[in-house]
Structures are given as structure tokens and as C-alpha cells.
Symmetry: C2
Amino acid sequence: MIYTTQHTSGDSSARTGRFVTPHGPVETPVFMPVGTMATVKAMTPENLREVGTQILLSNTYHLYQRPGDELIRRAGGLHSFMNWRGPLLTDSGGFQVFSLSARCTIDDDGVTFRSHIDGSEHRFTPERVMEIQRNLGADIVMPLDHCPALPADRETLEASLRRTTVWAERCRSAGTGGGQALFGIVQGGTDVELRRRHLGEIASLDFDGYALGGLSVGEPKEDLYRVIEATAGKMPADRPRYIMGVGSPDIIIEAVRHGIDMFDSVYPTRMARHGTVLTARGTRTIRNAEYAEDQRPLDPGCDCYSCRNYTRGYIRHLIKADEILAYHLTTYHNLHFMGELMAQLRRAAEQDAFMQYRRQFWRQFYGCEPPD
Amino acid sequence: MIYTTQHTSGDSSARTGRFVTPHGPVETPVFMPVGTMATVKAMTPENLREVGTQILLSNTYHLYQRPGDELIRRAGGLHSFMNWRGPLLTDSGGFQVFSLSARCTIDDDGVTFRSHIDGSEHRFTPERVMEIQRNLGADIVMPLDHCPALPADRETLEASLRRTTVWAERCRSAGTGGGQALFGIVQGGTDVELRRRHLGEIASLDFDGYALGGLSVGEPKEDLYRVIEATAGKMPADRPRYIMGVGSPDIIIEAVRHGIDMFDSVYPTRMARHGTVLTARGTRTIRNAEYAEDQRPLDPGCDCYSCRNYTRGYIRHLIKADEILAYHLTTYHNLHFMGELMAQLRRAAEQDAFMQYRRQFWRQFYGCEPPD
């Protein structure tokens, strides 16, 4: 997979770029909506295109369990199965094993866990995870990594880094399917020195792109920003740089500022299903009574399908009645917001005006000046 | 509201016709999808148009309680509120009061009931129900009627008919909003003699259309067919004829055969949400394990969005995972099926080939010959 930087903003490390997958090109910085169960909840593939989605993330852990990666392989792979013909990335399932499954026991060879659905016992090794991802057939796949719960002591972190490096090598040796790109994952918690050392190890293995893993998992935001600032610029400049599980505008903007290119998170879609929408003036919890008779669109400045056709009052009614259309309209709007945000970040970087856009966004969305 | 018969099939009483509402024309026979809470579950208005929906039914009882008819009036009426710009019909709420609410007590002036949502006490009278429906602003409104639970003894039925007639007169006197049409409702249980007598009373009041109420509520199908056969032809020929709450293909076809023009039911949408789809070869319960690896569309002969883009296996996976997209795709397909069925019934009647189509449909869908 070839990545090309197109422009770096004169005022920061924010950069625009482009890479091409077997299912089409991706312009970066890019946000990837999450389609855990081979569907982005409440959206059709056409809807996703309409809101500017370039690439989706789907979860190996979930698909492995239901409907099963072998079934998806027999159905022609994940693209065919879910009728998404654009680029796809699958995570390795490691993060979900550690966060969702029951009784997970890790050893140097892999991890044994019980399904969160039926309690059955399963085992992921680097080789097994690559096999599953070959069956799913995403354009970009991720190696099995070890993300210890934070905060973790130095010894635990060191052990997790050793494992993650060895597993990354084993994943590379196990091999991808035709045309699949494999990224490396950098761990190290919030310890900047460990992050940098591990980045060096992983980068020496020469992956198609690099990801910061194990962040945005509850650590203080200052720690997160510190790691991004200290690590992003050291990630190989000629490959896409990805920070996993990050999706709120503030963190995305800080990461782009320091040169990160790719993001994924359930943030906009989960917020939508809880009745909260993203607008230029910040978030609005539309399910609140104050919106019952509000005849304005979710965001008066937005031209998405939901905003062109429905009022806050109507959508609030649908939420209160638990109607499916509510979640469609709020999800549509929130993903459109994310698509627009990323397009604006790209535009600002192209125009060497990233920091100005950042300040303007913070003032409008958060009602205050950005940090620093 | 002007109704014009366009053609009556040479082989039966099946007829095609057309009436024009303030929100556009309706070609009959027509099936009205049900949008109980001011939304047809899992469908956008654009989706409804795509599957051939001409007119929607919405429920006065539900909207009165949530979000309230006054709120909808202030939002510009039901069309604006839900962004459905085509024809709309609201029922009177009577049927739901008797079937859904708790502690409902009826007297000659109206009915007092407790909300099924919060237990609060409410009262519907003919005048109140007309006021609510003026607030909602549908194109066609229905008078409050008394539908006793079946089977009912002669005395109960007689009393319900007396009330329904008096209430129909009071609704007519209360008046509709600008441009609204008011239909009359004929009751009488499964007693053909009572049905005919009541039809005479209601028809003498001169409504814009006539409906058979209190049917398809659990009575044997032979009784239902008997009432349709004995009553439909006696309903005024120069007005639309509507049978309320009927939606399965067999009953629709029998009713069209005898000259009925309008239908509504949650049948296709509710079936869809239970994972069952309507196909040319009958119903299929897609949630069943047999479809897990089925790479065919829901109905290989169907050209709807769902069938052009997704496999049974994928939709079955979405159903098992309880994903919103499942209910969108199955609802879309089932309403497309109903739209196609009604278009084919109209075409068959136009071509004097209604009975031939009926036989062919029964053989394909039910795998047997039609009754009689």
C-alpha cells in the first residue's frame, strides 16, 4: 500500500495525504465509522457514502464469534457480505478480548478467553488472528497486540511490549491475504519513553502503516495529549499514522495537529443512539424536554438529510417513542458532522491554516480557547 | 373528496379507481402502511415513496397521547411534523381505546379510559376525536365508533350500532378541518343482517367514503369472507370503500374481488420486524438457521433495494445480532411486496383478468387453489 503526503500545514505538523487500497483511495486525515457487526448501526452503505465515509472499521472479535469468519469467507468476504464496496479495516480483536470477554488468560503464545455471548472457550494467537482477518478480507488488517489495563506498573507494561513486538513479527510472518496491508501497533501506556522505544522496535519491522494502540481508554486527557505529541512525529512519515479508538473532535484535532492521519471510534454513532447530536455549537441532547417543540433542524448550519428534512421536535418525539427512525436520523447527522470535520481539517491543513481552524473550532464547539 | 371508478373487472366486482386529496391523488385498490407514532417503523418518507406507498395511516390514540395533537398542530400538522407530504388518513382512536387502554368505560356520550403508557385518565367523545383529528390535519379522518369484542351477543351488538350511528352524526356535525374528508364506519360484527342494516343507516348520513370496521379481530376467516361478500357490493359505489385493519394478501384479494378499495394493517411491517418476509412463493422466516449461508436475495424475483443488494444470509445475521439495518431491509422489502401486490391487483382488474390473477397468486403464494 502506497501512502503519499500531499501537504503539511505550515503552522503545525498537520498533514494531508492519500493511500490507495484494493477498494479505492482514502484521503487523510480520515475518520473511520465503526461497523462492529458488519453494519454501521442504523445506516446503509449508501447513507455512509452520502455522509462522506471513505473507509470503515469492523471488529474481528465480534465477527469471529457471530456470524463467524469462515461463513463470511464463504460469502465472498466482508465487502460482499455487508455490501460495502469501499475500503475496510479490521482490528485484530485483541482489544475486545481484553475488554469484553470473560476469564481472559494471556501467555507468551496468545490469549485464551470465553465468549461474551455464550461463554464458550476460544484462543487467539497471532497466526489465528491473521487467518481470521484473511477470511474477512479487509483492505487493512491489524496484528494481535497486548493492551494491559491502565494504569499498569512498569513490569506489566514491559511484558506487554515484549509480547506485542514478538506477536507483530509472528503476524507479519503469518502473512496477509492478497492485497491486504498490515499495520504495526505501538503500545507503552502513557509512558513516553516506553512509547518511543516500542515505536522503534515496531517501525524496524517495516509495516504498511503504524498505529498507536491502548489509548483513549480512560487515562487523563493530558497524558493522552502528551503521548500523542511525543510520539506522532517520530512515527515513519512515509506511512499512514493511525490512533486507535479515538473519535471526539478535541482529541482528533490534537492528533492531526501532530501528524496523525487515521481515527476510528464509536463516539458519533453511540452518542446518536443515546439521543445526542454534534453541532457546530457543541453537543445537544435532543432527547431533553427543551427540544419538544423546537422547529429548528438539529444544526441550523448543517445541510445533511436529517437537517434538511426534520425538526428537533420531531426527532425528540421519535427518541421518546424509541422509534428506529430516530437512530437513523441522529446517526446520519453525527457521521455527516464527522465527515465534514475531517474535510475541514484537510482543507485547513492544505491552506496552511490548521491552527487558525483549530482555534475557531474550539471557540464555536467548546465555547473556549484550545489548550496550550 | 371526489372518487371516480375507472374500471370494473369483467370477471368480478374488483374495481380500479382514483380519488384526490389535498396532498395528492390515490389510485385504488390501495394498501396503507401504518405509521402509528408518526413514522412507519424503520422507513424514511423517501423509502415509502420508493416502495410505492401512496397514502399512510396514522393512529389518533397514540399521537394524542404522545407527543400530543396540540403539539403536532403547533408544528404545522402531521404532514409537516413527520415530513410526509403525501396523503394521510387517521383513525378515530376508538379501536385502540377498546383494545389497548386499561379500564375503559363506555356510555352513550363517549368513552373514558386510562392511558396504556402512564395510567392517566382520558375521555374521547365524538366531538373530541374530531378536534384531535383537526389538529393532526390528515386528509381523511374517521368518526369515533364502538367496536365491541367479538363474539358479542345480539343486544351488545345492537347497542354498539346505535351508538356508532349517533356518534357518526355527531362527528359529522362537529366538522372537519379545511379539505379533510370524513368517512363513515359500518359495524355489526359477523352478523350479515346487522351489517347491512347499519350500512343503510351510515350511508344515509352521506360520508365521503365508507369503511367496514371491527373485522379481522380474531373471527374465523369464513365469517370475515361472508361479511365482505354480503356487504361490499352494497356500499355506495361512488365513494371509496375501506376495510379497516386488513392486510394479509388472502383477505385483501377477497375484499378487492368484492369491490373494496382501501386497506391498512401492520401485517407487513410487524412481520418484517419479526424476521419474516413476503415473497412470491409465500412467507419466509429469514431468522431461521436454514438461511445462514443462503447467498440468494430475500425473493429472487424481486427488484427492491433489499433484494438488489443483500443476501438472506447477511440479513439473517443482522436479525440475529438485532441490528437496526435488519428491520429496515425486511420492512423495505415487505412494503415493496405490498405495493407490487396492489399494483398487480389494479392491473389485473384493468385487464378484466382479476380472477385469473387471484388463482395464480394463490397457487404461487399459498401453494393451493383459492377458496370456493
